[in-house]
């Protein structure tokens, strides 16, 4: 089974100039563990909001690739976001869920995806151009080759092992995270 830190490292290798928004908890630690950059906007809270923050950046900057990296629990809390993204259809947005079927930050309680809920099917039915569940190295490689070709929105639920790697913590200062991210678009200082 794929491991979340390996997946995140591969994603980071392929990202180029892409902006990445990470959902609270493990996904934020995973993204930070690949190396900090102003092109990352880490959520430490606002559970359920990662996909919509990503949609906002993608709509505001249609010529930039935007990736949302989050977990199954965070995605489930904002599940309606998939419908909202499906309607807007931003070609430059990818939503990538590291799906371990559990709420990893709170004691590894089983989530809905551990039972019958299929996030990729929900994304496909919501109007994502590409939506898949990824379980193998080969499927991951193929997705990473294709997902930034500006024919999105694309979605991947990447099935990963149930594990809790050591935390890698970005700064907590939200104002600094905001300002430095805006600086990558020459938006700060105003």
């Amino acid at each position: 089974m794929l491991k979340r830190r390996d997946v995140t490292a591969k994603l980071n290798d392929m990202r180029g100039e892409s902006r990445i928004i990470s959902g609270l908890g493990s996904s934020t630690y995973d993204l930070h563990s690949t190396g900090d950059t102003d092109h990352n906007f880490y959520l430490w809270g606002a559970m359920g909001g990662a996909a919509m923050v990503g949609l906002g950046v993608a709509m505001a900057q249609p010529d930039s690739n935007v990736i949302v990296l989050t977990g199954d629990g965070e995605m489930l809390m904002g599940i309606g976001s998939l419908a909202t993204i499906g309607v807007q259809k931003p070609a430059n947005l990818s939503v990538i869920v590291l799906d371990n079927g559990h709420f990893g930050e709170t004691g590894m309680q089983a989530s809905h995806t551990n039972s019958c809920v299929d996030l990729a099917k929900i994304a496909a039915a919501s109007g994502f151009k590409r939506a898949e569940t990824i379980e193998t190295e080969q499927e991951l490689e193929r997705f990473l080759q294709l997902f930034q070709d500006a024919s999105g929105p694309s979605f991947a639920a990447i099935k990963v092992e149930q594990e809790a790697p050591p935390r890698s913590l970005p700064i907590l200062d939200g104002v600094e995270l905001k300002n430095r991210f805006r600086r990558t678009f020459n938006l700060f200082p105003k």
Partner: protein
Amino acid sequence: MSHQNKEDKGAMLLPLLKEHGVDFLPFVPDAGHASLIELAFDDPHIQPVVLTTEEEGVALACGHWLGGKKSVLLMQSSGVGNTVNMLSLISNCNFPFVALVTMRGNFGEFNSWQVPMGRATPDVLTAMGIQVYVVERDDELPKAVDSALYSAFSSDQGVAVLLSQNLIGRKEW
């Protein structure tokens, strides 16, 4: 309140929003916002975005600002209850934020199920660090919206303009 007045409200607000450079109007619909939403769909310079729940609009507005664009969230007071935890984004990161909130559950409300959230709306917003401007009369509305937009986007503040049921009229049953 007549249908005509509701149409006037949209016609009054749209030019003001455009004057402030607002790019997006995320919304969960309300009859009190209907004319503004309809006019915005016909305007090439401002883009309405339909949401499934109001908290999406808070996160979306933050994303828009991260990418250099301005949003104004349209919702009714019941939706304010859905936004509470997402509003932590505004206070943690000092995002500029403007919401236009049509009130239910006050003057002349028939549906008593709207009353609890209507009563709690100003307190909930205030508790989350959002400034509240209450508008009771038509002629106060442009100044309140203009001030909210100016404060939010000039100095990263969060402001909600509450449009009283006194202003938007009661829903007829």
